[in-house]
């Protein structure tokens, strides 16, 4: 089978699964859903692995989607190291999470059960389309579809008002980003007269549109390219929950926990990082937009980490830490250390999916209680889950030898050694964030698992999760423990498989990491690890600064600000529109036309007497008048 068919198959398998489950799923026996739902994702994983080991590279065009004059959009899939890397993460981690869902969603009734796996498969399909698309049109289609499936899954329990509101919020925020993406694509088309990545990047490198003969060198930075890069950044920021379009992600935790693990930690929210990586020729040229990526990432990393200190809902702590870690990735791709950012994407997918699913086990055992203050003492009762959660937490903190250490050190080291002020600035922010990460992760760990069981705990003797939920978590725990060994460059020795693989596609890091940076990295992670331990006694500390606690508990008042500025303004405008425009003018004119007609008709109907002779009289009178007029005409 040719590779182009295999590439298409990656997309078609999850789509076929979704269609099957959507159409007949809930009428078929439950076992079919349990096999088809995760099965198609695993099948896509196998196909991806085949392409990966055959080192397939290519831009496969299947057919022309739109053709109008010189404007042409093909349906093409771009298979290169970056898209295959993303596909491996999506289908691999996705497969584990969808398998986990078989157990986690077990108490849902038939239709809901099938609906859940339909949505999951739709999501996997959309995400794969996003990373495989070879042109801007299908990138945007995938981009919008992942937003849509995220909306479906956040609002999965649609009987809950809070879930529906959270889903709506996520959708609106994402559409803000989609608009940015679409405008960015317009600007790119105006500039390069092409919408395929190949055409645009060729134009960037050779300095002219691909249809003209190319004689110039690389294009210099220009206002248009900066504009395109900034507009694409708006899309990336909204999808990846970075400042200032981040408020939807914590609320998205209303969705089922596997959804949080898959969409709101491992894959969809990293789409922004992928976008910047995929658009690296543009960002390499647009230096201001590129710097903005790094600064947005660094600020978000710190911002989200501070909020995570005071959250009490275990999933919300994880949500804020996700924002924070994606901030790291933005930081990395923003300073040009693309492969470091993507390695962190991979490691984050491992340990954050692990943390979410382990948290899911805890929530499952606690009968849907998510407040950490009501846990306590789970170490003795949920031993396997506790161990795996600890592995994830240590990886998140960046303890040696877990995968998080290598990836985070890679980013911080690259930022520290980068010549120029930008690198040092974002390194400083990243350094502080790394310490805070140790603090909040430690707090979460000690609160949930250590000490004595809380008096308010809903379940006295919790039961450990079934194997179908434990095994995927265990696989991820192993990956989070040994995954770092594929890229140990942080220590100056050992392999660097990820960066070797990706540097063939994205721009390589143009500077060497200094050995001094490695020592600093080691110390950073050591201090973070100590803070993890010290967090055991953190409660009295936060209680000493009540004002700070209040600000953090209100998440820096972003929701309040957006409510005041956008939501209430729009509500008021809608009120005015309803009261002063809709009711009096539109409703009034329509109803008025009706009543006036009835009123006029009530008088006109008096002409109808119902007597045949009256009608005849009018008829005869008319005939006489016509006859007189004719006579008068002939007479004159």
């Amino acid at each position: 089978m040719s590779y182009s068919v295999l590439a298409l198959l990656i997309l078609l398998l999850p789509a076929a699964g979704a269609i099957l489950l959507a159409g007949r799923g809930w009428r078929l026996p439950r076992i079919v859903t349990q096999i088809v739902g995760p099965g198609v994702v695993w099948a896509a994983f196998v196909v991806t692995v085949v392409l990966f080991f055959n080192q397939v590279n290519g831009d496969f065009t299947y057919w022309t989607w739109i053709k109008s004059g010189s404007f042409e959009v093909p349906f093409n899939l771009l298979i290169d190291n970056l898209s295959l890397f993303m596909c491996l993460v999506i289908t691999g981690v996705g497969g584990l999470i969808v398998t986990y869902s078989v157990g986690y969603m077990a108490h849902e009734d038939g239709p809901s059960y099938a609906r859940f796996f339909t949505y999951m498969d739709v999501f996997i399909f959309s995400m794969l389309l996003l990373v495989l698309a070879g042109n801007f049109v299908f990138l945007i289609v995938g981009w919008a579809l992942v937003g849509l499936s995220s909306y479906f899954l956040i609002g999965f329990w649609y009987e809950r008002r809070s879930a529906v509101l959270a889903a709506r919020k996520a959708f609106v925020m994402n559409v803000v980003g989609d608009v940015g993406m679409i405008l960015g694509a317009f600007v790119v088309f105006v500039q390069f007269h092409s919408l395929t990545f190949a055409g645009v990047f060729r134009g960037l490198v050779h300095g002219c549109a691909p249809t003209l003969s190319c004689i110039f060198g690389p294009v210099p930075d220009s206002g248009m390219i900066e504009l395109a890069a900034f507009l694409l950044l708006v899309g990336a920021v909204a999808k990846s929950a970075q400042l200032p379009l981040h408020t939807w992600l914590p609320d998205a935790m209303e969705g089922p926990t596997p959804v949080s693990a898959l969409i709101h930690a491992a894959t969809m929210v990293t789409a922004g990082v992928y976008l910047v990586g995929r658009m690296h020729p543009i960002y390499d040229v647009a230096v201001y937009a590129h710097g903005a990526v790094a600064i947005v990432g660094a600020v978000t990393a710190l911002f989200a980490a501070t909020i995570a200190i005071v959250q009490t809902d275990i999933k919300r702590v994880l949500a804020y830490s996700t924002m924070s870690q994606i901030g790291y990735m933005f930081l990395a791709v923003g300073i040009g250390a693309y492969s470091a950012g993507f390695f962190h994407l991979l490691s984050h997918a491992f340990f954050k999916a692990l943390l979410f699913m382990a948290a899911g086990n805890v929530i499952h055992a606690m009968h849907d209680e998510q407040d950490m203050r009501k846990y306590g003492g789970l170490w003795g009762q949920l031993r396997p889950t506790s161990i795996m959660f600890l592995i994830g937490a240590l990886s998140l903190v960046g303890a040696i030898p877990f995968v998080g250490f290598f990836s985070k050190e890679g980013i911080l080291g690259a930022a520290f050694s980068r010549p120029g002020n930008l690198g040092l600035t974002v390194w400083g922010i990243g350094f502080v964030t790394a310490l805070i990460t140790g603090l909040y992760t430690g707090r979460m760990w000690w609160m949930s698992f250590a000490g004595k069981p809380s008096a308010q705990r809903p379940v006295e003797h919790p039961h450990e999760a079934p194997p179908v939920m434990l095994i995927p978590v265990a696989v991820l725990a192993v990956l989070a423990t040994v995954g770092g060994l594929i890229q140990t460059r942080a220590l100056g020795i050992g392999p660097s498989l990820v960066s070797d693989y990706l540097d063939r596609v994205v721009t390589g890091q143009s500077w060497e990491e200094s050995s001094f940076a490695v020592y600093i990295g080691l110390v950073t992670m050591l201090v973070a690890g100590l803070l993890f331990l010290a967090a055991y006694r953190m409660r009295p500390l936060t209680a000493r600064f009540p004002w700070a606690q209040r600000v953090l508990e209100h998440k820096y008042y972003f929701d309040e600000l957006y409510n005041a500025v956008f939501v209430r303004t729009l509500d008021r405008a809608a009120d005015v529109g309803f009261r002063d425009v809709e009711t009096p003018i539109i409703d009034g004119s329509l109803a008025g036309a009706g009543t006036r007609t009835t009123w006029a008709a009530s008088y006109a109907s008096l002409l109808q007497t119902g007597y045949v002779r009256n009608y005849t009289l009018v008829f005869v009178a008319g005939a006489v008048i016509v006859a007189v007029l004719l006579l008068a005409r002939f007479a004159s």
């Binding site: 006109a604 109907s605 008096l606 002409l607 109808q608 007497t609 119902g610 007597y611 045949v612 002779r613 005849t616 009289l617 005869v620």
Partner: protein
């Protein structure tokens, strides 16, 4: 004014036209003032035949056969009209207890 030859004697056309006009007016008045549906139908026949008379008178005066053909046509239509009109009347009488045509005033506004 032309003269028409009727059985050897000459008669002015205007007499025929006058008779037609009188008959037509009588028919019209009959339709307007009478309430018995049968009388109304008869009045309509009267109007039609008044027109026929006029047509034939002109046909003779102008020595053109078309007027007579037209009169034949009118008779055919009159026969059809009488059939339909009477059929409707019979049907109405069957379902309604009708005193005169003024009882049929459902369309009164």
């Amino acid at each position: 004014m032309g003269k028409l030859d009727i059985g050897g004697s000459q008669l002015d056309t205007s007499w025929f036209l006058l008779l037609g006009a009188i008959l037509f007016t009588l028919g019209t008045v009959g339709v307007l003032v009478r309430r018995n549906p049968l009388i109304i139908l008869i009045s309509i026949e009267l109007m039609l035949n008044a027109v026929n008379l006029t047509l034939i008178a002109f046909s003779r005066q102008l020595e053109n056969i078309e007027g007579q053909l037209f009169a034949l046509m009118t008779m055919t239509v009159a026969a059809a009209e009488a059939v339909v009109g009477l059929a409707i009347l019979v049907d109405i009488f069957r379902v309604r207890d009708l005193e005169d045509i003024d009882d049929l005033s459902e369309l009164k506004g």
